[in-house]
């Protein structure tokens, strides 16, 4: 009974099988022929998937400091007090912070640069990165642009940039005249790691998490350009619907330095860090801002992190997430402007 019922179906399957065999063979030959006519590329061909860096394109503005080549731009009168703007990452770039050029109108000489290995700055191998090298690079950038010891220097840092600014202040507590910090992950590795774990947790059934890992089967390799491209695509998770850090969209960027980012995280995980040992000597008021929508941060973390400074103005920026310096510029700028006016007197 069972065999009788199955016979027509099996005959159909046999016919289907023969058809598929012929069809797939013809299909593959047709596909190969069509594909031969297509133009193809290698993923690491320069300039195709990620922009050229300063060592690949001499038309980009750059400076040679501390044995590297950094993409840097300045705005305003070089004799005015210097405001150095530090982007997030590590491995990010300063494109999303170009609004900060507006501080020229407040009497600042504004310096923006892509940190070592990020954005349009020169790439380096993983062993070139340490926290100290970023502090040394910052010192070299300040020395490069500073007219003399009488020129005041201010720092404005976002995310990792705020951590770097604090590392610099901790190492040189007497050299900075004012400091704006926007959501630094932490000033110790323990605080930073806890923050990262709060927003980078993968959710197995979530579209964003699966997009993040699904990409792995399409793109592999060690080439820096390929890794940068892939990291840029995976960064879509940062602004996906429902992201933990409350980011509204994709902020402008040039290139995400994947090797730099991973090397720095590996370095921190292996060596740890503590930028708080000399912060007690920095008695100038610090403007410390955090965003309302960043669920992984919040006032509790902001109070914990900012408490390392003896004199803090802690402010929440409403209606925005971690990328507040771009998406909530209209709320961030007045706060920073008023602060600079106060500490510049």
């Amino acid at each position: 009974m069972k065999d009788h019922r199955m016979k027509p179906f099996q005959e159909f399957l046999q016919k289907l099988n023969r058809t598929l065999r012929f069809g797939s063979a013809a299909g593959w030959i047709l596909f190969a022929g069509l594909f031969a006519a297509c133009e193809t590329h290698e993923m690491d061909d320069p300039g195709l998937l990620v922009p050229l860096t300063v060592d690949e394109d001499s038309s980009l503005p750059s400076i040679h400091v501390n044995s590297t080549q950094l993409h840097a731009q300045t705005f305003g009168n070089p004799n005015d007090p210097m405001l150095v703007v530090l982007h997030g990452g590590p491995g990010g770039d300063h494109r999303y912070l170009l609004n900060c050029a507006e501080f020229v109108n407040d009497g600042f000489f504004v310096v923006l640069y892509d940190q070592r290995g990020g954005g349009l700055s020169k790439r380096h191998d993983a062993d070139a990165y340490s926290i100290q090298i970023f502090v040394d690079d910052l010192q070299a950038v300040i020395d490069h642009y500073r007219g003399g010891p009488g020129q005041k220097v201010f720092l404005l840092g976002h995310s990792w940039g705020a951590m770097l600014a604090t590392a610099y202040v901790n190492a040189h507590p007497g050299t900075i005249s004012g400091l704006v910090l926007a959501e630094p992950g932490g000033f110790t590795w323990e605080d930073t790691k806890a923050y990262i774990e709060r927003f980078k947790t993968l959710h197995p059934l979530d579209e964003t998490s699966n997009d993040f890992v699904y990409l792995d089967q399409f793109i592999t390799g060690d080439n820096h350009r390929i890794l940068d491209y892939k990291a840029g695509l995976q960064a879509a998770a940062n602004f996906a619907d429902g992201n933990e850090t409350g980011v509204e969209g994709m902020e402008p960027y040039w290139r995400f330095g994947a090797v730099c980012n991973k090397a720095c995280l590996d370095y921190a995980d292996e060596h740890g860090f503590d930028f708080t040992s000399h912060l007690g000597q920095f008695t100038t008021k610090v403007l410390f801002v955090y965003s309302e929508w960043n669920k992984a941060y919040g006032r509790t973390h902001a109070e914990r992190v900012s408490s390392a400074y003896p004199n803090v103005q802690l402010e929440e920026i409403p209606g925005t997430g971690h990328e507040m310096t771009y998406f909530a510029w209209d709320r961030f700028y007045p706060l920073a402007k008023n602060y600079f006016n106060e500490v510049s007197k």
Binding site: A25, W28, R95, L215, F218, I219, L233, P252
Partner: protein, 220 residues
């Protein structure tokens, strides 16, 4: 270019005669020449798989399969993988068997930044001990995204207008090392488990370099 065409033709030629998930050769019967299967697990994301296979009488036991898989998430059609291939038993002695798989695949992936469409191939060797009621085996395999088309979104082009859409060669290669086990239940059903480690080409590992699948198959 010639290498790519040859690889595609080779993958296609092999795929023309078939692939499978986990096959218990010892439980194959002449009156059970079709199999449908489904599995769930981690395969570059939490993913569900479903497929159909047909045993073909040749000099060696051979199974042709076609399957579809997709990762979990809110959008059900933007990411998926289709595979067409063959799984053939190469050697058998006293319950020990060695088999080979060859598959052609098509993968699609879309995010707010890019749409990827990729043609590739998978090749595997499976060696183990096969009894009618169960088998246990080790598997070694390689998976290559031979050629991938990238189409970038307006959002991506906002930041990098000169980003190049088009076909890119040899974009991804993975190696898989794992184990598989199958338990047959009655004459028609198999429950199978695959576990293993993935290695991406180069030194940079995947986000989660493992795979794990629990599945069920019905022979008829």
């Amino acid at each position: 270019m010639r290498n790519v065409i040859l690889t595609i033709i080779l993958a296609g030629a092999l795929a023309r005669v078939g692939h499978a998930q986990t096959v218990n050769w010892a439980s194959m019967k002449n009156d059970r020449s079709n199999v449908v299967y489904a599995s769930y697990g981690y395969d570059f994301g939490v993913a569900a798989h479903a497929g159909y296979g047909r045993f073909v009488p040749t000099i060696r036991p051979l199974l042709i399969t076609f399957d579809y898989s997709m990762p979990m998430g809110g959008r059900w059609t933007d990411d998926f993988k289709l595979r067409l291939g063959t799984h053939v038993q190469l050697l058998e002695k006293n319950g020990f068997a060695l088999s080979g798989k060859a598959m052609g695949n098509f993968r699609r992936h879309q995010t707010s930044l890019v749409r990827m469409a990729s043609f590739g191939g998978e090749f595997a060797l499976v060696a183990g001990y096969f009894k009618p009621a169960f088998h246990a085996a080790v598997e070694l395999s390689a998976d290559g995204a031979v050629v991938t088309h990238l189409k970038h979104s307006r959002l991506m082009k906002r930041d990098f207008p000169r980003i190049h859409d088009g076909w890119y060669l040899n974009t991804g290669v993975h190696y898989f090392y794992g184990i598989q086990a199958v338990k047959s239940i009655g004459r028609q059903y198999d429950v199978n488990l695959r576990l293993g480690k993935t290695n991406a080409r180069g030194e940079h590992e995947d986000v989660l370099p493992v795979y794990a699948q629990l599945g069920v198959a019905r022979r008829f």
